[in-house]
């Protein structure tokens, strides 16, 4: 492991821990943006350029902004008074350690895991593009269709209601 990887990993995990422990939700969202950038940096160190840039473009550029706006529009900026830890935090730690051990044990002993490290495949942006446009064209089209449907739905929800129809004619 290179020192750069260790540093990015530590920053990412610290930021992720901050997301869970801060009380102010906007601070949490900003810490989450740091986590996303850290994950992108790890992708870049593994020379997965496309995934790294897509991570920044989608998660830091769009998802973080979306979260921040959702927080701003749905609640006041006041942070809750009560502690972030619930009363049963001790039991929570025990359960999470157990689940982690079980999952880790299952993954390490699974037959699907290659025992020896395989050579990293040569993936360039060009290969990814050709795969998306050739082999995986159908999933891509389906994703496009689903997103279009979601967008039309969002537009319909945001549409100004006709003043003639009263609240009874309103769905949802």
């Amino acid at each position: 492991m290179s020192p750069a990887l260790i540093i990015t990993a530590i920053v990412t995990i610290l930021a992720a821990a901050t997301v869970m422990s801060l009380r102010n939700l906007v601070h949490c969202a900003l810490a989450m943006a740091i986590t996303f950038s850290g994950i992108a940096a790890i992708y870049l160190q593994l020379s997965a350029e496309f995934v790294g840039f897509a991570e920044i473009l989608v998660y830091v550029g769009a998802i973080a902004i979306l979260i921040v706006f959702a927080i701003l529009l749905t609640r006041s900026g006041e942070s809750p008074e009560k502690s972030v830890l619930t009363s049963g935090w001790g039991a929570g730690i025990v359960v999470s350690v157990l689940v982690f051990t079980a999952l880790g044990w299952a993954v390490l002993n699974s037959a699907g895991l290659p025992k020896a490290a395989t050579a990293a495949p040569e993936t360039t942006v060009k290969n990814i593009g050709e795969a998306l446009m050739g082999k995986f064209i159908l999933p891509l089209e389906i994703v496009g269709l689903v997103l279009t449907a979601a967008m039309i739905g969002a537009v319909i929800i945001a549409l100004k209601e006709d003043p003639k129809t009263d609240n009874s004619g309103r769905k949802s």
Partner: protein
């Protein structure tokens, strides 16, 4: 003779190699990166300070006044036409008191200008300033540029939210809504170039434009889809860098200074710097995609060093930015959104289709006619659709009785 021009063209690259050769071998990549970074940190802020004077003087001339014309070299009679103004301007910014509102979120308020500047400076890493003058030549350089640009929105939000000021928050909301809306036509207009060139690498995009027919360069802007793409890119880049007529996020007459209302002193200067450096970077990308990057427009001027061509084009585009700022009034929010979603987005989508037709039709005069017709036709139809229902005409004044 030819050798001399090649040497002049590659002078910065050779100086870099010469400087790097002083450090021991294992440190070469590190030293080279450090020198490249210091090059960017020296050249572009210096360029920024010159451009601020250029802008103030230019707008002054357009508005029939002089602009700054006093500051020159101290204790002499030399006044340099006022081009020394940026030194006292900078000193004033540095020495001003840094005011932080009591209710502000101190940490986020402090970090916002820094977060603003980092992605903007990172964007310069992939821009080719001249022949063999690219800092990092990523395979997906274009994607890197757009990905990094997305982080600026977060900085704008941080500034607007942490100030605990209505005007700041309103400015940030406006800025983010505008940036997200105009990012779509910006990226879609760049996609046409990627489709035709077949690469996301900025060096390849320039190489594809670096040949001449009848002595005139074959830049992307000299094709129907390229011209439309460049126009869309240019308008979207005006909006992305918050310039007039898209400067609603910092509309002085409505919301004081938008998201940086509560910033003073050096932090304000950092926002100002970040905004201008972002403008240069996005203009540089426009030059690379559509205006041939560092290549010469005519074949008999190819001996002029490549970086001079790049900066000449950059200054020309910045001049158009300043000219537009001095000419056009600010748009209204609904006009801004209508323009982005009902005009620019469909036009950018049609342009992708036009670029595809251009790519697959035979290299002939027919494709010029088909593609030009499509571009002009869609422009007229969409433009009429946008103007429909708008009451344009003489303004109707109402007076109190």
């Amino acid at each position: 003779m030819g050798n001399m021009f090649t040497a002049l063209d590659q002078i910065f690259v050779n100086v870099l190699h010469w400087l790097v050769s002083f450090v021991p071998e294992p440190w070469h990549p590190f030293a080279s990166a450090l020198l490249c970074i210091s090059f960017i940190l020296m050249v572009f802020p210096a360029f920024f300070s010159i451009i601020t004077i250029f802008e103030r003087k230019g707008i002054g001339r357009i508005q029939n006044r002089y602009g700054p014309n006093r500051v020159g070299i101290p204790f002499t009679k030399i006044r340099l036409c006022g081009f020394g103004q940026f030194v006292p301007d900078g000193l004033k910014m540095l020495t001003k008191e840094d005011i932080v509102p009591r209710a502000a979120d101190k940490l986020v308020h402090f970090l916002a200008p820094v977060v603003m500047l980092i992605p903007v400076l990172l964007a310069y890493a992939v821009l080719p300033f001249g022949r063999k003058m690219t800092m990092t030549d990523y395979d997906a350089g274009l994607l890197f540029f757009f990905a990094i640009g997305g982080a600026v929105e977060l900085a704008v939000f941080m500034a607007g939210w942490s100030s605990r000021n209505k005007y700041s928050l309103l400015g940030a909301m406006r800025a983010i809504a505008q940036m997200i809306s105009y990012e779509i036509p910006l990226i879609l207009s760049a996609v046409t170039v990627v489709m035709v060139v077949g690469s996301l690498k900025l060096v390849d995009i320039i190489a594809a434009q670096n040949h001449y027919a009848y002595g005139i360069a074959q830049w992307n802007v000299f094709t129907p889809w390229g011209l439309l793409g460049f126009m869309l890119f240019f308008i979207a880049s005006l909006a992305e860098s918050n310039r007039t007529p898209f400067d609603l996020p910092e509309a002085e007459s409505e919301i004081i200074a938008g998201y940086f209302t509560e910033y003073s002193g050096f932090k304000f200067a950092l926002f100002f710097l970040g905004e201008y450096l972002g403008m240069f970077a996005i203009s540089g990308l426009g030059i690379t995609l559509f205006l041939g990057g560092w290549t010469s427009p005519v074949s008999f001027l190819t001996w002029i060093p490549s970086y001079i061509w790049f900066f000449t084009k950059l200054i020309t585009i910045i001049f158009v930015f300043i000219w537009i700022r001095a000419t056009l009034p600010r748009m209204r929010m609904d006009q801004l959104m209508n323009f982005a979603w009902k005009f620019m987005l469909p036009l950018a989508l049609i342009n992708i289709l036009v670029a595809g037709i251009w790519h697959f039709m035979a290299v002939d005069w027919q494709r010029w006619i088909v593609c030009s017709f499509l571009v002009v036709f869609s422009y007229v139809i969409l433009g009429r659709g946008l103007m429909r229902g708008q009451k344009l005409g003489k303004r109707n004044y109402r007076y109190a009785e």
